[in-house]
């Protein structure tokens, strides 16, 4: 691991703090590298001496009374830095209005048409027997099976995809709510 990687990891662990605070802390650690390099230490040695970025970040978060584990393991960005959260929220709303909603809309339309098509195929499949009078029974039976099978498959597909879409939308909305 080199210096920049170490500082990047440290910054990632410091995300519950404000951007300014993160900057100050990274600055301090950057100067440690300067001093230690002058003493002739390699980056690897310095990093080994400093320890794990997460442990370092924990000391800062403790000092600022932030329960870092709660932050890390909960999906909600509660103690997240205010400006970034609002920025993300505004961005997501704009994204949803201009792109997200239309993606959702087209997905619904597509799924709906697949569902309609599948129902139509299932309902229409027995008619193959009437249409293929004169052809062998075996032939019309296989056509019946084919259409019914494809219809059932498409129906199952559209149902499961709709469920996924629904779950995804609910999650997305909950996430947006957690940003506020």
């Amino acid at each position: 691991m080199n210096r920049d990687l170490f500082l990047r990891d440290l910054r990632n662990e410091l995300t519950p703090l404000t951007l300014n605070e993160q900057e100050q802390i990274i600055d301090e650690y950057l100067s440690i590298f300067d001093f230690k390099r002058e003493e002739g230490m390699s980056d690897e040695e310095i990093i080994k001496e400093l320890g794990n970025p997460r442990d370092i970040a924990n000391q800062f978060l403790n000092e600022f009374n932030i329960d870092n584990n709660e932050f890390r393991y909960s999906q909600s960005a509660q103690p997240h830095n205010e400006e970034r959260r609002i920025g993300l929220f505004v961005f997501m709303i704009i994204f949803d209005v201009f792109i997200g909603f239309w993606l959702f809309f087209s997905a619904v339309v597509t799924l709906f048409s697949i569902a309609i098509a599948s129902v139509a195929m299932i309902v229409a499949s027995p008619f193959t027997f009437f249409l293929s009078i004169g052809v062998s029974l075996l032939g019309s039976f296989s056509v019946f099976c084919l259409i019914l099978g494809v219809g059932l498959l498409l129906l199952a597909l559209s149902i499961s995809l709709s469920r996924l879409l629904f779950i995804g939308i609910v999650k997305h909305i909950n996430w947006l709510k957690s940003l506020l």
């Binding site: 600055d27 100067s31 000391q59 403790n62 600022f64």
Partner: protein, 106 residues
């Protein structure tokens, strides 16, 4: 040792050294290391918090091409230090008296 307790004492030591002479975080840790076993990872958070609380102030000095951040005691910081120092002295004396009395009992 109780970490809260240790932190309070470390805070006093940090403030005392900075009161004597403005210095960078790194230099401060070096100075403290002469007296006790400390690492940058324990001192830096204290420095950041004290700065946020307005007890310490910082200014930047450019030597060569690099900038160095120096910590200094703000005027409310000086008051705070005096208060902490007096508290510590009083506490220290009480503990010492208590320990001596115990020794004389033996």
């Amino acid at each position: 040792m109780n970490t809260q307790f240790k932190k309070g004492i470390l805070e006093l030591c940090v403030l005392c050294l900075i009161k004597r002479k403005d210095m960078s975080g790194y230099k401060l840790v070096e100075e403290l290391s002469k007296y006790m076993e400390v690492s940058v990872n324990t001192i830096y958070p204290i420095l950041r918090r004290l700065t946020n609380e307005g007890i310490l102030a910082t200014y930047e000095i450019y030597d060569d091409t690099r900038k160095r951040k120096y910590y200094t005691l703000s005027s409310p910081g000086k008051e705070f230090y005096q208060q902490l120092y007096d508290e510590w002295n009083k506490f220290n004396q009480s503990v010492e008296r208590l320990l001596k009395e115990e020794n004389s009992d033996e």
